[in-house]
Every structure is written in C-alpha cells, then in structure tokens.
C-alpha cells in the first residue's frame, strides 16, 4: 500500500534533508564557520523533526507491515525501483540514526578535531546521515546497496583526515575491508536478481524488490542459496564486524575522531546486523538455517575473544573498540538462533549498543581532550578531577556490562536465553554450548569494563595530571550526552518500548524460517 500526501514524502525527506543541508553548505564559504554549524544542525534537526512526525503517525498496531511506502520507478533497465518503507524493524534503527547525527553535530560545536575545517567535517556527517537513514528505509536491494556504500566515503575521509597519528592506514583498511565485503554482497544481490522468480502478472521477472524476494527466492535451489547467503554473510559480517573480520574495527575506532567513533559504533555497525535480519534471513531462510551454527560459533568466539582483547589493551579507546566486537557477538548470537526472542534481542542489542558504546566513545573523546592521552596507565582519579564525567563513565560501563535496569541487559540476556532453545532445525546441543560460553562472556565483560573504570576513575590522579585543572562536563557535552543517558535508562526500565515495536516484524521473519524448515 502506497502512502499518500505528506506521508509519501516523509521518509524521503528524512533521508535527503541532511544531504540538502550538505549541498547548501557546499556553496557557503569555508570561513563562515558558525553558519556552517547552524546549517548542519538545522538540516539534521529538520530530518529528526520529520522523523518524529513519522514516529507519531506510525501505526503501532500494524508494526509488522511496511508503512510510509513509496514505490517509484528508478533504474528501469535492471528493474530496480525506488522503494522505501518503514516497519517495526527499521523504525528503532532509523530513530537511533536520526538522533545520533544532530547530537554529534552539537558535540562538534566546540570539538572540531584537528586539522579543523568544520565545513568539510560537518558536510561529511550530514552525508553519513543520508546514507544511514537511507539504508534503514530501503526496500530495494540496489537502493539499499547504494546507501550502504554511501556511508563508506564520508567515514573514510573522516578517519583519514581528522583521525589520529595512524589515520591513513586505518582509513584505508576500513575502506578496503568493507568494500571487499560489499563486492561479495552485491554479487549475491545480483545472483538473487537473476535466480529468483518474481513473477509479475504471469510473466517471469527479475526483481530487487525486498518485499517480493522472500517469496520469489524460494525457487532457488538450496546449494545455490547457501552460496548466495555466503556472499551476504561476508558483506554484512565484515560490517558488524564478526570475528575474524573484525581487525579493521579497533584501528578505525582508535584513529577516528570522537564523533566518527560515535557514529561508527552507534549506527554504522548496525548496518551489518540489520542486513542479516532484513535481507539475508527472510530472503534465504533455509540457507540461514545452514549458516546459523557457524554464525553462532563466530559470535561466541567474538564474545570471548573480544573480551580477552579488551583485557590486553592499554588504550582506553581501543579497549572500547574491542568491546564492540564482544557486544556485537551477543547481537549475532541472538540472530543466529533465528528465533523471535533472539532477533528481538538482537534489535534491542543494536540500539542499546549504539547508545552505550556511543556514550563510552564520547567520554573517551572528552577524556582525550582534557588529558591529551588515552593511555590507561597514565590516567586515574577521573572521579576526583572531573567527578561528573567520572560518574557518566561509571554509568556507561555499568550499562555496557549489561546491568539489568539499563538498556544493555535487554540485548544480552534474551540473546543468551534464545540460544537455549534455537529455531527448529538447529542443534540444541550446539546452541546450548554457545549459551554457556556467552554467559561466561558476561563475566569477562564485567571484568574488563570494571577494570577500565577502576584504573581510569578510581584512585588518585597520576602525578602527571594531579595539578592540572580538568574541566568537568561542559554544557554542549551535557546536551549531546543527555539523550544517550536518558535512552539507556528508559529502555532499560521499560524495554517494551522497543520490543513491542520490533516484535511483529520479527515474528514474521521467524515465521519464514519455521516455514522453510518445515517445508
């Protein structure tokens, strides 16, 4: 069902308003720094405002169905169409992306990293916004792919230009690694296009329409489907990132400027996990069942391995980066169970990880600004020198280790729970083993996070910084962080805010899996 009136424009506005802002900024002279900031914030807030309109007018009783759908012809020659729409699975991630972008711009107000140039920096953030929003609403594989790739370039430049000392290496690694995955992913998309049978009005037709593909792809024979799934696995799995394709992540995070890290952690990684649930599993459920034990294995390896990696780190930011590997492991474990519980947990985990790890990177960025180092051994006594920031860090570490009552728990625990009883067709013994390993991972998570907190916040400040005046949290920081902190608490206390939205869509996806195994 197509949307009409303003509804038909709403999602397109959400996607392209940041880009409009970016284009406006391109014609404004570089010296007008304040004006640039203003345009950037206005553009991102405008997108958020339309997003809120969407949020209000979204029919929550039909959250399993696509809403605000637009279906226009786009590239006729390959039958790729401009199809966008929103359902309960996309909505939370779209909102996350819409909220994170303006907050990052606010944070950047006084924190434009070296070598400056707010114009270019903010333009890149806005382009990122368009790419991310677009990915979450696309319902056509080519459209999805375009948005998926759009985010690469701004992030590449962000790391490569505004990053740390080793920025070029990190930027190229990030770019190539993801591009490599994308190449395989587009291959799979093409294979789907050629092999799936999207019969339209009696005539066989090839299609990229994600709404039609689950039915259309049933004609693909199962061996081929497993290969096609493999291509998508590489594309999405590298983005997540899953062990052993994670090595770009610590470098990228460590070198990226603060808001780059925040966006990367909060939204970009979710493009991969979202792709699994949105595309790979519903279109090829049978292949998903074949792959699931393997994905689950990599996920739990990631959980333990990421945690051990964290314990070995001497740099705060790199530690947080490694923790992403572990946390995304929980998300992937949830997905690998192919159950309603697991996939709901995964979506919750994505949002929670976005908020929590985003928050941790913000604090790391602010610590770096004040102390000019993130070397854990040189830090200490943050609670003494900047008590509020210390408490924010403590809060974020608690959230990150999955403390119940805060958001992280609801991504972690249900994922572990789901592994006890995976979808039909998956070996219980295997997944129960994963469950135990994942549960052990929660102990290690508490270990590295609390150890980090102890070494940076507890104790006395090191002699080096003891006499230096350290600013506590600034007002722009409060504004940028406030929604993150609030979101972590609210979702933690009342998780149904998210579960009730995602559940319907997840149920129908899990239903496809069950049907595939049964049939």
């Amino acid at each position: 069902m197509q949307a009409t009136g303003f509804d038909a424009w709403a999602l397109s506005l959400v996607v392209f308003l940041p880009l409009v802002g970016a284009i406006v900024m391109m014609v404004i002279p570089k010296a007008e720094e304040e004006l640039h900031k203003l345009v950037a914030i206005v553009a991102s807030l405008a997108a958020l405002a339309v997003g809120i309109y969407v949020l209000i007018n979204f029919d929550y009783d039909a959250s399993g169905e696509l809403q605000f759908v637009v279906d226009k012809s786009w590239i006729d020659v390959i039958n790729s169409r401009y199809i966008i729409g929103l359902d309960g699975l996309s909505l939370p991630l779209l909102v996350l992306s819409l909220v994170v972008v303006p907050l990052c711009i606010i944070y950047s107000w006084h924190h434009i990293p070296e070598p400056g140039n707010p114009k270019a920096f903010l333009i890149l953030i806005l382009i990122l916004g368009t790419g991310m929003n677009g990915t979450f609403v696309s319902q056509d594989l080519i459209l999805f792919f375009v948005f998926f790739e759009i985010v690469l370039l701004p992030m590449y430049f962000m790391i490569g230009v505004w990053g740390g000392e080793n920025r070029q290496y990190a930027a190229i690694k990030f770019f190539l690694f993801t591009l490599f995955g994308s190449a395989l992913m587009i291959l799979s998309f093409l294979a789907l296009f050629f092999l799936a049978d999207g019969t339209l009005g009696g005539t066989a037709a090839n299609t990229f329409d994600m709404r039609a593909l689950p039915a259309a792809a049933t004609v693909i024979n199962s061996t081929t489907a497993v290969w096609i799934f493999g291509g998508m696995f590489m594309g999405f799995g590298i983005k997540v990132p899953m062990f052993p394709f994670h090595t770009w992540l610590p470098d990228a995070h460590t070198q990226a400027p603060t808001v780059g890290s925040v966006i990367l952690a909060a939204v970009l990684l979710k493009l991969g996990t979202y792709g699994f649930i949105r595309i790979a599993i519903p279109i090829l459920p049978e292949a998903a069942v074949e792959w699931a034990p393997f994905i689950g294995l990599l996920a739990v390896i990631g959980i333990i391995y990421g945690a051990l990696g964290c314990l070995a780190q001497t740099d705060m930011k790199r530690l947080i980066a490694f923790s992403s590997v572990a946390h995304m492991g929980f998300v992937m474990l949830g997905i690998a169970t192919l159950t309603e519980f697991g996939m709901n947990a995964a979506v919750f985990g994505m949002v929670a990880h976005g908020l929590i790890t985003g928050m941790l990177f913000f604090v790391a960025g602010s610590v770096k600004e004040r102390y000019h180092t993130l070397e854990i051994a040189r830090l200490g006594g943050l609670l003494k020198q900047a008590p509020k920031m210390g408490w924010v860090l403590g809060f974020a570490t608690m959230a990150s280790l999955g403390l119940p009552g805060l958001a992280g728990f609801w991504g972690e625990f249900p994922a572990i729970l789901a592994a006890y009883n995976p979808a039909a067709g998956l070996a219980e013994e295997t997944f129960r083993t994963y469950m135990v390993i994942a549960a052990v991972g929660t102990v290690l998570a508490a270990g590295y996070l609390l150890w980090l907190f102890q070494r940076t916040a507890f104790g006395e400040p090191s002699d080096e910084f003891a006499d230096e005046p350290i600013d506590d949290v600034l007002s722009t920081e409060w504004i940028a962080w406030g929604p993150f902190l609030l979101g972590i608490v609210v979702l933690g206390v009342y998780p149904n805010l998210l579960f009730s939205i995602t559940d319907d869509t997840v149920v129908s996806i899990a239903g496809l899996v069950t049907a595939a195994v049964g049939g």
């Binding site: 291959l187 625990f413 929660t442 290690l444």
Partner: protein
C-alpha cells in the same frame, strides 16, 4: 497496600534520584540524609502496613477446623492482574489450637486431604499485581509485585534494618567527603532490595539481584581513593558475576521448562509434577552456584570478608542483614525447584545441604584466625548463611526463613556495635588495638554481648530458637534425617559460641591497647543498637514452638512465621512436612554453645589450655597458617585464575589478533597494493591512463583537507577490487 506494593520500592528509588539531584544543595549536602531517612521511613511504615494486612488476609483465608476442603490450587491466570481471592475464613484461633493439640506435629498435607485435625491452616493466596514489561513472539512478559508471607517478612526486615542503618550513618559517616553519594546509594540499595523481594517473575529477580549487587559494588568501593577498597569492590562484583552465570542459566532453563517467567506459575507447575525432575535438577544446580556467590557459600564466599572494606553501616545492612540473604531468599522463593530437583524429601544428602553445612563449618573455623573484628563478623555471617542454606537443603524451609529473620537483627546489631567500637578506638578494626572497652562504652558492650549470645544460640534469645529449628530440621529431615548436616550443625553451634567469646574478650576485656581514650558513642548510634539488641532478645517470638508457647501462656502465638509465611499451597502436593520441636535437640544445641563459651572462657579469662601451641607445634602452626591464609582460596582465584586471564591469556589472544589475523589482512592489503602497482605500471599507465587521471583530478578538487588523503590510491584499490569482483562474478555465474 498488598495490591500496590510497588510503592514500597518506588519511594526509596525516588529518594535516590532526589538525593543525587538536590542532595548537594541541602546545607551543602549535610542534610541529604533527611531525604533518605524520610523515604526509608515511609517504606518501613508501608511494609508494616503490608505485614498487618497480610496477617489479616491469612487469618481470613485460614479455615478453622481443618476439615473444610479449601479450594485446591485455584486455576489461576497469571496474566490477569491482581489476585484478590479471599477465601471464607473462620476463627484462626481454632487452627492454632489444633496444631497445639496435635502436640506440634504439624505435618502439612494437601489441604484437600486435611482431615486429621492436625493440619496446618492453608495460607492465603499471594497477591500478585503485574504489568507488561516486554513482549516477544507475541507473548507478554510481566513485571510486578508478589506479596505473600515471605516477601512481607523480607520487606519488614529490609526496611527496618535500612531505617536504623540510615539513622546510625548520620553520625558514623558524618563529614565524609561523599556524604551525599553515600545516602543516595543507600536509598538505591534499599529500593533495589525491596524490588527484588517483591519479584513476581524470575526475570525480575535477576534484575533486582544485579541491582543490589551494583549498589554493593558502589558502597564497598565508597572510599575508592584507596586501591584496596576498589579492589574489594571489583572482587565482590566479579565473584558475583561468576555465580550469575548459574543464575542466568538456571532461570533460562526454568523459563523454557515452564514457558513463562512467572514465579507463581513455575512453582505451581512443579508442585503439580508438570516439570521433569531432571530439568529441575539441572536448574537447581545452576541456581545453587548463584546462591554460592550472593550468599557467600563455599567456594565463592571469598568476596564477602573483603567487602568489609566498605563503611561499617553498609556492612551491617548489605553484607549481613539483607543483600547476602538474597540467595537464601531465592531458594525459599523457588523452593519447589530445589525440593523436587534435589529430591529433598527422600534423600539424606544433597548439594544444597552440603554446601550450606560445609560453608558453615569452614567459615566458623576461619573466624578464629581473624584479628579484624569486622572480618570475624563477616566469616560469622558466611557461617550463618551456611546454616540457612543447609536448612533449606534439609527441607527446613521455615527454619531457614526464621533464622534469616533473627540473624538480620542480631548480626546487624553486632556490625553496628563493631562500628561503634571502632568509632571509639581511633577508627581501627584491629582487635589487638582494642581491649577493656567494657567500662568505657557500656551500651555498646551490653548490646554486643546480648547479640553475641543470640548468635551463639543461648536460651532464650532469638538465635536459640531459629538455630534449634535448623538442627531439628537436620535431625528429622523430611522422611529421613540428614546425619552429616546434623554433625556440621552441632559443631558450628559450639564454634560460633567460642569465636564470639574470643571477640568479646579481645574487644571488651583486659587492658585497652589502642590509641586515645575510648568513649561511648552518641545516641544516634546507641539507640539503633539498643533497638536491634531488643530484637535479638525477642526475635524468637516470631516462631515459637507451640509447646513452649503454651507453657508461657502465648498459645495463640506459636509458629507465626510458619503460619503466615510458609507457602503450603505449593509445597503441599510435594508432601512437605515441618519438623516437630524436640526438647532433646534443644538441650544438645544449648549445651554445645555453652561448652564453646566455657572453653573459650577458660582459655582467655582463666588462662588455661595450650597457649602458644601454634608456636611450639609444627602441625598446629601449619593448621593456623592454613586458616590465616583462608585456605589459600584467594591465591587460587586472584593470582592464578584471574591473573592468568588478565595477563597471559588475554595477551596471547591479542598477540594472535595482531600477528596472525591482522597479519593476514595486512598481507592481503600489501599484495593487493603490489599487484596494484604492477597493474598501474604495466596496464594502467599503458592502457587506461586518461580515465584514471580524470578521476584523480576530480578527487583533488574536492577540498583542501581531502587532498591530504592518498585519494589516487583509493581509486586504484577500488578499481582493483571491483575488477576482481567482476572476475569472481563471472566464475560464480559459470559455476551456477
């Protein structure tokens, strides 16, 4: 109040937020405690109201003559809100009379089979109020409050001790650098603990369980400037996390076995044999590991003595009276899981009973080798928690809950007393720097002695009654006795009395060995002490055995905890029975305690016995060192296990990351670059020069900053990758 019990934890939770937000503004923080005291005071009053209403409700539900078949387990619907079914009640006096007449032999039968006149009055239905917490797969999972005798008892215990500790703290931590935070976290702890005991779903129990843990973390590490304190805080949290693995897994198993998180349904299904025994056994084993960490049972007890690094009132509240009994409460709440899982009814030995019994013994031994008064009390707490766990293991449900209640009173009193002593003795907890304080601080002395006697189980103080019930429970068991547990229990009875006598000797008798002049603490400290000591004297009334109650003219006042708290409806179908009081056992228990006191008295006061044995005898010395080193468990955990994960294992993993996995990536990148160079040199320059130059030129104009990047290179990489992708695509298509 029973339907709206959520208010009770909500008030301290609001207090937490208020203190954090405004605490600093109240007289620069010096008055922050008023918010906390007011909130906890209200929670206390409401808890009492809830208790009274619950008693009223059970009296109404009690059917007097024991003949009327009371509705068998009513078909409940756990999702439809409040259970407010009241069953027609006759006078409850009769029912108590019936128990008395039956000589106290109160074998509990399923209500419908209750026709022998000795039946226990059926307890009232719990009052459950719930709202949807989250949904998954279309199924709604609820959060809410579950009010019955057990949770009401815990509400009263928690709010009472919390209130007294709040008041006491205003003096004890006066002028502390983080006075406001201290009270904020006390409030948060109180809220979390009350939330936990009211849990209507096992998921909610996990949440409450972890929240009290984090408050414990924050308060143990209250003085985090000192690395030792923050180490203790971390140790507490991480040890608990280890046990939590079992908690998560156990709860997950229960969830899938019952299809719900709902406590009521789970218990009900087990009672009606709807869950397989083996499943319950695994769940019980997993949950036992959680009990080990939270309630300080061997081998996960090591965090609890270290937790004494926190302020003393915190030790009294969290690490003696309330949080550490969460594990005991968990078992009591989900008792059918353990009762069926461990086959408590028909066995004379099980993991739970062994854990408890062994812990009680082991910790009592360690209490002798401590010089820090708080650590003696900590090991004593571990030991007493072992008693409770053992009681649950042998099927003495009521005895465990009863002991939980009395222990909270006298142990809180002891900790606060230790705090008072330390307040006077220049802030030391080392008993070698105390002594002779009897005359300087009479109130502290007497309350401490009374509570010690209660702990030792001396007639007629609180601990005597509850400990006696545990021993009787072990003696009689359900169908067979638990002989090993009985031996453990008896040994611990003597040891407890002995180590407490030792503490009293070193602290209050002899000459003062510390600095300055000790003085009695102000009233804010002594009044809570006196109130708690009063509880230590009278606490036994909560569950007097009926023969005794009859004798002293309190016939209607026997077995109150049993009457109001025991969830017979669940346990009934399992054939649960309560041990009958035994005069012989009581005399033995008392005798052992007196023996312990006598021996220690002779050793210290009369200077008799083998003094200096540890110096003279190699074996005695080795034994003492073994105790002093706490069985070397800390070395095993901290140095060997944690140390190896933190350093070599983590570093090895990271080395592999950098030198194997990442090396592959880099090599791939480098060969691609070399390949690219080759292609560039021989193909690109020769063939498609113009096109690439055009692309680079475009890239170079896209901003000054962007030019810093090796944009040309990216183009090549991109081209190369897409080129190889194209090749792959061709292969792919051919293969398919």
């Amino acid at each position: 109040m029973l339907e709206n019990a959520f208010i009770i934890p909500l008030i301290p939770a609001i207090s937490f937020v208020l203190i954090l937000a405004f605490g600093k503004r109240l007289k620069g923080g010096d008055a922050a405690h008023w918010i906390g005291i007011a909130a906890v005071g209200v929670a206390f009053v409401l808890s009492i109201v809830a208790a009274v209403q619950w008693i009223d409700r059970s009296e109404n539900a009690a059917s007097g003559d024991g003949h009327a078949p009371v509705a068998e387990h009513h078909e409940h619907d756990e999702h439809d809100g409040v259970h407010t079914e009241d069953e027609g009640g006759e006078s409850h006096e009769d029912s108590v009379g019936a128990i008395g007449a039956g000589g106290g032999a109160s074998t509990i039968l399923l209500a419908t089979e209750a026709d022998d006149g000795a039946a226990h009055a059926p307890t009232a239905e719990p009052v459950i109020s719930q709202i949807t917490w989250f949904q998954s797969g279309g199924v709604k999972h609820e959060v809410g409050t579950y009010v019955d005798g057990l949770s009401v008892l815990l509400l009263v215990v928690v709010s009472t001790v919390a209130l007294l500790v709040h008041v006491y703290s205003t003096e004890y931590v006066k002028g502390d650098r983080r006075y406001v935070h201290y009270f904020a976290f006390l409030s948060l702890f109180t809220a979390s603990m009350l939330f936990f005991v009211l849990s209507s779903s096992i998921l909610q129990m996990i949440v409450g369980w972890e929240l009290v843990g984090v408050c414990s973390f924050a308060l143990i590490g209250h003085w985090w400037e000192d690395g030792e304190n923050s180490n203790a805080a971390l140790k507490a949290f991480l040890t608990n996390r280890v046990g939590d693995i079992g908690l998560l897994i156990g709860m997950i198993i229960l969830f899938f076995a019952a299809g719900t998180f709902d406590v009521f349904t789970i218990n009900d299904m087990i009672a009606h044999g709807e869950i397989e025994h083996l499943v319950l056994l695994v769940a019980a084993l997993a949950l036992t590991s959680a009990v080990m960490s939270k309630s300080g049972q061997f081998p996960l007890h090591t965090w609890l003595p270290d937790a004494m690094a926190g302020p003393t009132p915190v030790s009294a509240l969290i690490h003696a009276a309330t949080m550490v009994v969460a594990g005991v409460y968990l078992v009591a709440r989900l008792y059918p899981v353990f009762y069926d899982g461990y086959a408590i009814q028909s066995s004379s030995f099980n993991v739970l009973a062994l854990t408890g019994g062994f812990t009680a013994l082991m910790a009592a031994g360690l209490a002798f080798a401590q010089w820090d008064i708080k650590k003696v009390l900590a090991y004593s707490t571990v030991s007493q928690l072992g008693y409770m766990v053992m009681a649950l293991g042998v099927g003495a449900w009521t005895a465990a809950v009863f002991h939980l209640f009395t222990h909270a009173l006298f142990k809180a009193c002891l900790f606060l007393g230790a705090g008072s002593v330390s307040h006077a003795a220049h802030h030391t907890f080392d008993m070698r720097k105390m002594g002779g304080m009897k005359k300087d601080m009479p109130v502290t002395f007497w309350t401490f002695v009374i509570s010690s006697l209660a702990l030792a189980g001396i007639f007629p103080l609180a601990g005597f009654w509850s400990k006696d019930e545990i021993l009787v429970g072990a003696l009689q068991g359900q169908s067979t006795g638990y002989p090993l547990m009985l031996i453990f229990g008896c040994a611990v009875a003597a040891m407890t009395a002995a180590y407490m006598t030792r503490v009293i000797w070193y602290t209050f008798f002899g000459e003062y060995r510390g600095e300055g002049h000790p003085h009695e603490s102000p009233k804010v400290i002594t009044i809570p002490l006196m109130l708690l000591a009063g509880g230590a004297v009278l606490g036994g009334l909560a569950n007097l055995p009926s023969p005794v109650a009859d004798k002293i003219g309190l016939g209607g006042f026997a077995h109150r905890i049993e009457t109001y708290a025991e969830p017979i409806d669940f346990l009934g179908p399992l054939g649960f029975s309560v041990a009958s009081p035994s005069l012989g056992m009581a005399l033995v228990g008392l005798g052992l305690a007196l023996f312990g006191i006598l021996v220690t008295y002779l050793y210290f006061w009369r200077d008799m016995g083998p003094h200096g044995l540890t110096e003279r005898n190699r074996y005695a010395k080795a034994g003492y060192t073994f105790l002093e080193k706490k069985y070397y468990l800390d070395v095993l955990y901290t140095d060997i296990i944690v140390g190896s994960i933190k350093r070599p294992i983590a570093r090895a993993a990271y080395w592999i990351n950098q030198n194997v996995i990442d090396r592959i990536v880099d090599t791939a990148g480098e060969s691609a670059r070399d390949g690219g160079k080759w292609v560039y040199k021989y193909i690109d320059q020769g063939l498609v020069d113009g096109a690439v130059n055009g692309a680079s030129a475009t890239a170079n104009t896209s901003g000054e900053g962007l030019r810093l990047v090796q944009s040309g290179k990216v183009q090549h990489y991109g081209a190369l990758l897409f080129g190889s992708a194209a090749v792959l695509a061709i292969i792919f298509v051919i293969v398919i």
